[in-house]
């Protein structure tokens, strides 16, 4: 099995699916000859030509609006938004149009568009190259939201997403785009949407993370284990529909829970997860569910490492949560 990083895995998935399904087209800013600013579509223009890998004018609303029309017509568009920070000019097309198209047409018109976009901080990108907007899209009924933490999941989930019947926001954690490497199976395989993965088993505290922060959580878990703690670490992989069974089973076992994400805390996905778990595991909870998140500020430039929920903060929350006595 070849060793790949996330960019290569995404590229591999796109190539496989474009070969398999002539309906798949890629469109976006600089995705063609250049192969995308992160090179995720590199080589596809050469292989599949300018009718299937298409550089567009600079307008995200046009990219997504066009993709919707293409999907209605029967194609399988996989638009790229260069940075998720620039998805907002397309927000109306995503939230009012794409997410509601099947429902509002009485089921006559599915709109299976898979929007790929890099998310998150840690690359010295400041406000506009670092945001994690997942909760806005999870709040929007009609969208599937995916965020892999490693190349194996990235490839398998992207293949599932493109073959699915629902619109998907496929968030790629750019901080570990190259750093997260793995032995990726060759050829075709899928990883199911909606299934979390227990990355590390334990029985004292459940730690929930995804994307780039999964790696911080992993580091914190290792440090905790070195101190004799037994955390259970869950990689959500699909944010919506969240794998509620996996979460409930784990928290019923551990009685304690720490949720990690990069986005600002208030109205972030952590609040939803905390509520879902509290509603379902009330009698099992031995400590308050904790959230370790980005602060409620715009994403800063110089202090990004102080902004992000890095391992020391996660570790401390785990320690306090496991030590908690009512």
């Amino acid at each position: 099995m070849p060793t790949m990083n996330i960019i290569q895995a995404v590229n591999d998935a796109l190539r496989i699916e474009m070969k398999r399904d002539p309906r798949v087209v890629i469109l976006g800013e600089d995705v063609g000859k250049f192969g995308g600013v992160f090179r995720a579509t590199a080589g596809l223009f050469e292989e599949f030509g300018d009718k299937r890998v298409i550089d567009t004018p600079l307008a995200e609303g046009g990219i997504i609006g066009a993709a919707i029309g293409m999907a209605l017509y029967g194609l399988r568009p996989v638009p790229e938004i260069q940075f998720s920070d620039f998805i907002f000019p397309a927000f109306d097309q995503i939230v009012n149009e794409l997410a509601k198209y099947r429902y509002r047409s009485g089921g006559q018109y599915p709109a299976p568009v898979v929007i790929r976009t890099p998310v998150g901080g840690g690359i010295k990108g400041g406000h506009y190259h670092s945001q994690s907007p997942e909760s806005l899209f999870i709040h929007t009924a009609g969208l599937v939201v995916v965020c892999p933490s490693n190349p194996i999941d990235a490839k398998g989930l992207l293949l599932s997403a493109i073959r699915g019947e629902d619109p998907v926001l496929f968030m790629e954690p750019k901080r570990v785009y190259r750093a997260a490497k793995g032995d990726v199976p060759e050829g075709d395989y899928t990883i199911p949407i909606g299934k979390a993965k227990i990355v590390r088993e334990g029985d004292q505290v459940t730690v929930i993370a995804w994307g780039a922060m999964l790696h911080e959580a992993m580091e914190a878990c290792e440090q905790a284990a070195a101190q004799g703690l037994r955390p259970e670490l869950i990689d959500l992989r699909t944010l919506w529909p969240v794998d509620i069974d996996a979460l409930v089973t784990s928290v019923k076992k551990t009685g304690r829970c720490v949720i990690v994400h990069e986005a600002p805390r208030t109205c972030g996905f952590g609040g939803e997860l905390s509520s879902l778990i509290q509603e379902r595991c009330f009698v099992h909870l031995e400590a308050p569910i904790r959230r370790v998140t980005g602060w409620d500020t715009p994403f800063p430039y110089t202090l990004e490492n102080e902004y992000l929920p890095r391992a020391p903060r996660i570790l401390k929350a785990m320690q306090e949560t496991t030590a908690y006595e009512a």
Partner: protein, 377 residues
């Protein structure tokens, strides 16, 4: 350092630039019987009957809304030629992306009156399952896309569908409608621009009915016409008398041919007038004088067609009477049936959010069903 290449191109453009500002008319002010058209007598009387049906349906729905029997209505009174004349240029395989006044096109392309009324009452047989307001329909068998309220979004989607057809090599054109107010929207710009760059086979229709709710067109643009906006995109812009069905049909057909010939998109401004309020929620008396409306009533597109058909001997008072009487009966009976149909089930509220409901929707459906139907407020 003059860029001579751009300059010679520019000179060529200026020669063509007579186009966008001329108002193309075929019927002319007198609706002359020798107005040229490639529509056959049969096609002419059919489209005329369709215009009348559209009008009578609109009038009836407005009455029913006043009686509280439907919740809302937005019609196309006075704009039938601009709408139906353009859509008449389409073939069955072509796609149509409506704004919210083009329901007549759905009927013309085969949506049953019954289904149209199902949508008006939002019952369980409504093609969109009672999920959207009246006039917000979708009808896949006719490639009639879903109406949505947010202004302009349909233009961009039409561009995408047309582009998809081109990529697939299909002989298919997409047509979309927008109001002149909608030309101010984001969507107008990106749709026009992408379509021109990609040479997508799309016909962009603009109903310039001169008002956007209470806002006059002078608050939408400082350009002399809307048609001229096409020049910004390197696309032909056409200005046509929107109350002249023959003229609208002609320019729309030409635009469809250009699209099919690989020449890309066309933008057509159909100059017409919104003689009624914006919708049943609006009272235009507050913001515009009746004198402005009066002259436009005289230019009623249905009346103009009737005079023309009459002059050509294709239509007479007897036919007119019968058409209206038949329609009246059909509309009343059909509406009564739609009104009597069952509403959508609570279960249906949770379906088709996704291809299959997720666990949260299953849970929530069970909870909603446990409360049953709510008392109306």
């Amino acid at each position: 350092m003059p860029d001579t290449h751009a300059q010679s191109k520019a000179a060529a453009r200026r020669q063509k630039s007579a186009e966008p500002d001329d108002l193309i008319s075929v019927l002319g002010p007198d609706n002359r019987k020798d107005a040229p058209t490639d529509l056959s007598p049969d096609e002419l009387t059919k489209i005329y009957a369709m215009m009348v049906e559209n009008r009578l349906v609109d009038e009836r729905m407005i009455t029913l809304q006043r009686q509280g029997r439907i919740g809302f209505y937005i019609g196309s009174v006075g704009e039938e030629a601009a709408i139906l004349g353009a859509a008449l240029a389409l073939r069955p395989q072509d796609w149509f992306f409506p704004c919210y006044r083009e329901n007549g096109v759905a009927l013309m392309r085969g949506l049953s009156l019954r289904n149209y009324f199902d949508n008006m009452v939002g019952n369980g047989e409504d093609p969109v399952k009672g999920r959207q307001m009246p006039n917000h329909i979708a009808w896949r068998p006719a490639n009639y896309a879903s109406v949505s309220s947010p202004i302009g979004t349909q233009y961009t989607q039409a561009m995408g569908a047309a582009w998809a057809a081109k990529l697939k090599g299909d002989d298919v054109v997409a047509m979309s409608f927008i109001g002149e107010g909608g030309t101010s929207s984001n969507e107008f710009h990106v749709a026009m621009n992408f379509a021109a760059v990609m040479k997508a086979p799309v016909v962009f229709m603009c109903r310039n009915n001169q008002w956007a709710i209470s806002t006059p067109l002078s608050r939408q643009t400082a350009s002399e016409t809307f048609a001229v906006k096409a020049m910004a995109y390197g696309m032909p812009g056409i200005r046509v008398d929107g109350n002249d069905l023959l003229a609208v049909h002609r320019v729309a057909k030409e635009a469809c041919l250009r699209a099919r010939n690989g020449e890309g998109p066309t933008f057509i401004e159909a100059v017409t007038y919104r003689v009624l309020g914006h919708s049943t929620s609006d009272d235009p008396k507050v913001y515009r004088p009746d004198e402005e409306v009066e002259p436009w009533r005289k230019k009623d597109p249905i009346e103009r067609m009737r005079i023309y058909l009459d002059a050509r001997g294709l239509w007479d008072a007897k036919q007119e009477k019968k058409l209206r009487e038949d329609l009246d009966v059909r509309i009343r009976e059909t509406f009564a049936a739609a009104e009597a149909a069952q509403g959508p089930t609570i279960e249906s509220m949770f379906e088709e959010v996704y291809a299959r409901p997720f666990w949260n929707l299953d849970e929530q459906r069970a909870e909603a069903e446990s409360f049953g139907t709510a008392p109306k407020h």
